[in-house]
């Protein structure tokens, strides 16, 4: 049982040429890099998303429709779907083509109509009529997919549509927000996995998934006997009973199917014995036995979806064996033999695992995983909604037929409610909740708002893979770096903290395949000499020299010469007959010619892949089957920004991956016409002096997020300890680190139905012509603030009035003022950048203000290089006081050298060297990952030589003068340009202080959080310190006087709280009904609240007072 020919339904990657062609001279290994740009040009960065969505629109949808084509009310009254298609996105009202940018600006969904061709009969079951292009709903369209208006457009056309040519697409625009459906990682379906479960038992499990049923079949071994576990049965069923129930009554045949080796027989013996001790010998007895174990409650929900539901006469067990047990193995005409053989294979692999523990499967092995893409996820949603829509249509038709007073013929097509699909899809994609009761699926966070913090952040979001496990699980296995991730998943790009190692990212060249048509491949297998399973006896399956051929988890048959077969399959693939990608241009030609091929993780086991042609070493050259196109492709998009990542300590690269997504820069070419809630832009973004090939490939050199700062690595002033940075004030004046924060504020002019709506009026003036309110200054003649105006906190944006009465028939209306104000930071001057006005679908008129704030770096703003070296601005120093070189070069910032020894970011040092050589020569140097052998990364030696030629020291150190004293510094200073990113965390957005302020109503304690002007909490641990120190009065002040002091009257007799009668000037106890023994004391209001809450739950807290 070798040679698993799992076809192309998996992640595949990796390139190489066939060994014969290797012998022919290839020009040089540098040439093969030329393939990479060609590859990305053909494929794009997010091809996996777009391909998957295209497959759903073109094929998946049809398959779902065909599976649910016929809907009958009675035998004669029916509704039949004939065809289904998706149109182009357009606006429902004016029939204008919808563009994504329009949707983003006006909060619409970028969607297209789904239309069907149907045939149906009238209420009497006669006159079948056909209708074409009946609209059944709207499908959100993925940007750049085949139905998108951007499909196939060139740069100018994209610019005309207001779209950025570098934007990868692959996301949806739902209600104006961009939503990505994350790639979901899953355990491979329809695959046998041998594992040990929580109780230490050996199990063989298969998660079956077909269009109709999803089930999990588990075989486990308990006390040497093997059982089947299935949700539909209350108890585990002995495996021999199952085999007998499927018609393999003879024990000998079972043993033969598992294998003739006596060791298998020995291990099976206890199971066989158990079966016979239960006195089960025939199929009928076995089925009866299983019927008794049937679990009705659990099954009834599933049975609704079993299409070929067998009649009850045959017994439930048989129908479960047909439809649920190993559901992906089809049972045709009651022929259970394929299922028997499959079960036997599962048994054999279990027994193999007992005999040889090496044969256990690794669940973390990438080859055992599958990636579920947006197309598949939307397809699940669509299937569910389509079915709901149809059942509702049938119900309504049924109801309408029951009405006696109906007039005229009934029109089935009128009972199709289009809102179900439209709203259902919109709701799921915009909330991210996939709640499908039909498939027992309840996933949250499937779709996310596309992060537009930086261009690279958006790209990184598109390649992210969300984990299959919950984050709470305390196992290290799934988090660890798997060797099989090589070239498929980026080893660097994973978050820190709870999702560490679970959330992953695709590598640069990873391709995720969609389904391929199975039929032709199966017949190809047969014609390449696979012997059909149906013609084989149990004995023959495991005869010598016979190997089973699996196809997508199905056993096709056996083959006697597996290597010949596998080679033949590969040859066919290389000749471009199967598994080709829709092709044009160079890269695909190579694919067609079989010079380049995709390898999936499982096939990599049978390949020996070299990085470079000349990399021979101890391995015989003829054994090498493939050559990697470029080693830099094993990293992902985000990690590809790091220059010389292979010289850094590994976690530093991971830190940079997290920070690269927070760096400010240029977001897209259309960034200034976007209307995001919050957008951070860098004013003078630069392209890095030290680039990598990945940077050029993904377009980071066009949409950079940082600036080349001249950095001096030295100590200065003491304001640079703990990673703080000393900045040059003149550099800041010149625009270093200057950024724009664009914020959106939306004001809606409500509509109350009919012609009743809010009104917006010109600013009112008194008789002298002066404005009646001072904060109305920036309003225009239409009562809306004008672009270009400086806007301060509490300035009026819209002079709006709302009707007091929304009754439609009112002649004269009275309005009350409902103006909208700008909420911003006090003392900051911000400018209104743009004002958008439009009407939405509900006749409301939103007005969007985009407010611009230009910020220069200040103390405490966060910066980072590309090597996980973050730091805050510690002080800003005048240029006069900055050190300078003989050439007059003065650094932009000073970084403390203590940042280097423990972090071991050698890459940063090489970046400085390369950058310095780069500016002096006027060219860009490269630092691609592992690029030295192929010339994609400059060697330090070469850089040093370049520096020497320009009169610098080979080490990159410069002779500097002190800016304060004017004397030469004692040491040479390592100085040169390093690409610095400004991160989104800025002091202005975070700083917060409060003396008095708002309080929470319930507890009367200060509010929490900056946004509510909250207090700073003295928490438990701080309290502990004060207790330990003995500062009791300080605790008293912090916890009560500064928080929620409250005076209460306590009855010393009963210990309960009383009240103070203001008229009689006396306190009373309402329990004792007198005013004796009352005492006045102070306690926190929250404490009093607690007492009252306890009383409400029938717990009496009593206070016992003593003299203090």
């Amino acid at each position: 049982m070798v040679s698993q020919q799992d076809d192309m339904v998996s992640q595949q990657e990796d390139f190489g040429a066939n060994p014969n062609l290797l012998a022919a001279p290839i020009k040089s290994p540098v040439d093969k890099f030329q393939l990479l740009p060609a590859f990305l040009k053909v494929r794009g960065l997010v091809k996996q998303h777009i391909d998957s969505f295209n497959y759903f629109v073109n094929y998946g949808m049809k398959k779902i429709m065909e599976a649910n084509a016929l809907h009958k009310v009675t035998d004669t009254i029916y509704l039949r779907y004939i065809n289904i298609s998706v149109g182009e996105p357009y606006v429902a009202i004016d029939n204008i083509k919808l563009t994504p940018q329009f949707c983003r600006l006006s909060d619409r969904t970028y969607s297209a109509d789904i239309s069907v061709d149907i045939e149906y009969t009238d209420g009497k079951g006669q006159h079948p009529t056909r209708k074409t292009s009946v609209k059944i709903g709207r499908l959100p369209i993925m940007l750049r997919s085949c139905n998108c208006v951007l499909n196939g457009k060139d740069e100018t056309e994209l610019a005309k549509l207001g779209e950025c040519p570098l934007d990868p697409g692959g996301y949806f625009v739902v209600k104006g927000t961009e939503k990505v459906i994350l790639i979901q990682e899953q355990l491979s379906k329809n695959r046998i996995l041998i594992d040990i479960d929580g109780k230490g038992r050996i199990t063989a499990s298969v998660t079956c998934s077909t269009h109709e049923v999803k089930s999990k079949t588990v075989f486990f071994m308990d006390k040497e006997k093997i059982y089947l576990q299935l949700n539909q049965f209350v108890k585990p069923i002995p495996i021999m009973v199952v085999m007998k129930a499927m018609g393999t009554e003879s024990d000998q045949e079972v043993v033969q199917m598992v294998g003739r080796n006596p060791r298998y027989g020995d291990l099976l013996l206890p199971s066989i014995q158990e079966c016979s001790s239960e006195r089960i010998y025939s199929q009928e007895q076995a089925l009866d036995y299983m019927d008794a174990k049937f679990n009705f409650f659990k099954s009834c929900s599933i049975q609704l979806f079993i299409t070929s539901f067998s009649t009850l006469k045959e017994g439930r067990a048989k129908s479960i064996l047909t439809d649920v047990f190993l559901a992906h193995v089809p049972v045709k005409e009651q022929n259970f033999r394929p299922k028997c053989i499959y079960a036997a294979v599962m048994l054999r692999r279990m027994l193999d695992a007992i005999l040889n523990s090496d044969t256990f499967d690794d669940k973390d092995y990438v080859g055992n995983k599958r990636l579920e893409l947006s197309g598949q996820l939307v397809s699940l949603l669509f299937e569910d909604l389509f079915k709901t829509m149809n059942t509702q249509a049938v119900q309504r038709m049924n109801y309408a037929m029951g009405q006696s007073n109906r007039s005229g013929a009934l029109d089935f097509s009128r009972y199709i409610v289009t809102d179900i699909i439209t709203l259902g899809l919109e709701k799921s994609i915009s909330t991210g909740n996939w709640d499908l009761k039909r498939f027992r699926m309840h996933k949250k966070g499937v779709s996310q708002v596309l992060s537009r913090l930086s261009y690279i952040g958006a790209l990184g979001h598109m390649t992210r893979i969300s984990p299959q496990f919950e984050k709470t699980r305390k196992v290290s296995g799934p988090r660890a770096l798997q060797p099989s991730q090589w070239g498929m998943l980026c080893p660097c790009d994973t978050p820190e903290g709870e999702a560490c190692g679970l959330t992953k990212n695709l590598a640069l060249m990873t391709h995720v395949t969609t389904d391929e048509e199975e039929g032709p491949l199966i017949s190809l297998c047969y014609s390449l000499g696979v012997e059909d399973l149906a013609h084989l006896s149990a004995e023959e399956i495991y005869a010598n020299d016979s190997y089973l051929v699996f196809f997508n988890g199905l056993i096709l048959g056996k083959h006697t010469r597996p290597h010949t077969f596998a080679n033949a399959m590969r040859r066919v693939r290389r000749s471009g007959k199967i598994g080709e990608f829709v092709g044009f241009r160079t890269f695909d030609d190579f694919l067609h010619d079989g010079l380049i091929e995709y390898l999936d993780v499982n096939e990599q086991n049978n390949a020996l892949i070299a990085l470079y042609e000349h990399e021979a070493g101890e391995i015989d050259r003829s054994e090498i089957t493939h050559i990697e196109i470029e080693p830099l492709t094993l990293l992902g998009v985000v990690a590809g920004l790091i220059p010389y990542p292979h010289h850094n300590q590994s976690p530093r690269n991971t830190y940079q991956c997290a920070m690269g997504k927070q760096a400010m820069g240029n977001i897209a070419f259309n960034q200034l016409s976007r209307a995001d809630t919050l957008l951070y832009l860098l004013v003078y973004a630069q392209r890095p002096l030290l680039t990598t090939k990945t940077i050029e490939l993904v377009g980071y050199d066009k949409l950079g997020a940082g600036q080349n700062a001249t950095v001096a690595v030295m100590s200065y002033s003491g304001y640079d300890i703990e990673d703080a940075i000393v900045m040059n004030k003149s550099s800041l004046d010149r625009g270093f680190g200057r950024c724009i924060a664009m914020k959106k504020q939306t004001v809606v002019r409500e509509n109350y139905g009919g012609k009743v709506s809010d009104i917006i009026v010109a600013p009112q003036r008194d008789k002298d012509g002066a404005l009646i309110r001072k904060n109305m200054q920036i309003l225009g003649a239409d009562g809306i603030a004008e672009p270009g105006q400086i806007v301060r906190n509490n300035d009026m944006l819209v002079n709006k009035k709302s009707p007091l009465n929304v009754d439609k028939d009112l002649k004269t209306r009275t309005y009350k003022d409902t103006p909208a104000f700008f909420k911003g930071v006090e003392g900051e001057t911000t400018v209104i950048d743009r004002v958008l006005i439009y009407t939405d679908n509900n006749e409301k008129m939103p007005i969007k203000f985009i407010i611009r704030h230009v910020r220069r770096p200040e103390l405490g703003d966060k910066f980072s290089s590309r090597h996980g070296q973050k730091g805050v601005c510690g002080t800003i120093v005048n240029q006069e006081d900055f050190p300078f070189s003989e050439r007059g070069i003065c650094p932009d910032l000073i970084m403390n050298p203590h940042g280097f020894p423990s972090r071991m970011t050698i890459g940063k040092m090489i970046e400085l060297l390369g950058g310095k050589a780069g500016v002096s020569w006027g060219r860009f140097h490269y630092g691609s990952a592992f690029g030295e052998p192929s010339g994609n990364a400059c060697k330090v030696d070469d850089i040093s030589n370049a520096l020497i030629q320009k009169g610098f020291s080979y080490s990159g150190k410069d002779f500097l003068y002190s800016g304060i004293l004017g004397t030469p510094l004692q040491a040479y200073i390592f100085m040169g340009p390093i690409y610095y990113q400004k991160l989104k965390h800025m002091v202005l957005d975070k700083m917060h202080a409060r003396a008095k302020g708002p309080r929470v109503m319930l507890t009367r304690q200060p509010t929490e959080g900056r946004s509510r002007d909250g207090g700073l909490r003295l928490g438990e641990m701080e309290r502990d310190c004060l207790i330990a120190y003995g500062a009791s009065m300080l605790i008293f002040e912090r916890l009560m006087l500064s928080s929620d002091p409250y005076q209460v009257q306590v009855c010393q007799k009963c210990g309960l709280l009383g009240y103070y009668n203001q008229k009689l000037k006396k306190s009373f106890c309402s329990m004792c009904k007198d005013g004796e023994n009352m005492a006045t004391m102070k306690l926190p209001y929250a404490c009093k609240l607690l007492f009252q809450e306890l009383q409400s739950m029938n717990v009496v807290p009593r206070l016992k007072l003593t003299e203090a």
Binding site: L105, A762, D782, R856
Partner: protein, 52 residues
């Protein structure tokens, strides 16, 4: 000040850039190309910005 007789305010079309005078209560739509997002024109008042 009569709110019933407001002077038309000129807006700019988000697609073709044409000027589009609107009174309150008018449909928000460009008269030339039919685009439904309009931008407000930049203020004509003198604004003094602080250059830092």
């Amino acid at each position: 000040m009569d709110p019933q007789q407001p002077e038309p305010v000129v807006y700019l079309c988000g697609d073709c850039g044409a000027e589009c005078p609107l009174k309150s209560g008018d449909v928000i739509q460009c008269r030339d190309c039919g685009y439904r997002i309009l931008y407000k024109k930049r203020t004509r008042r003198i604004v003094q910005y602080e250059a830092r």
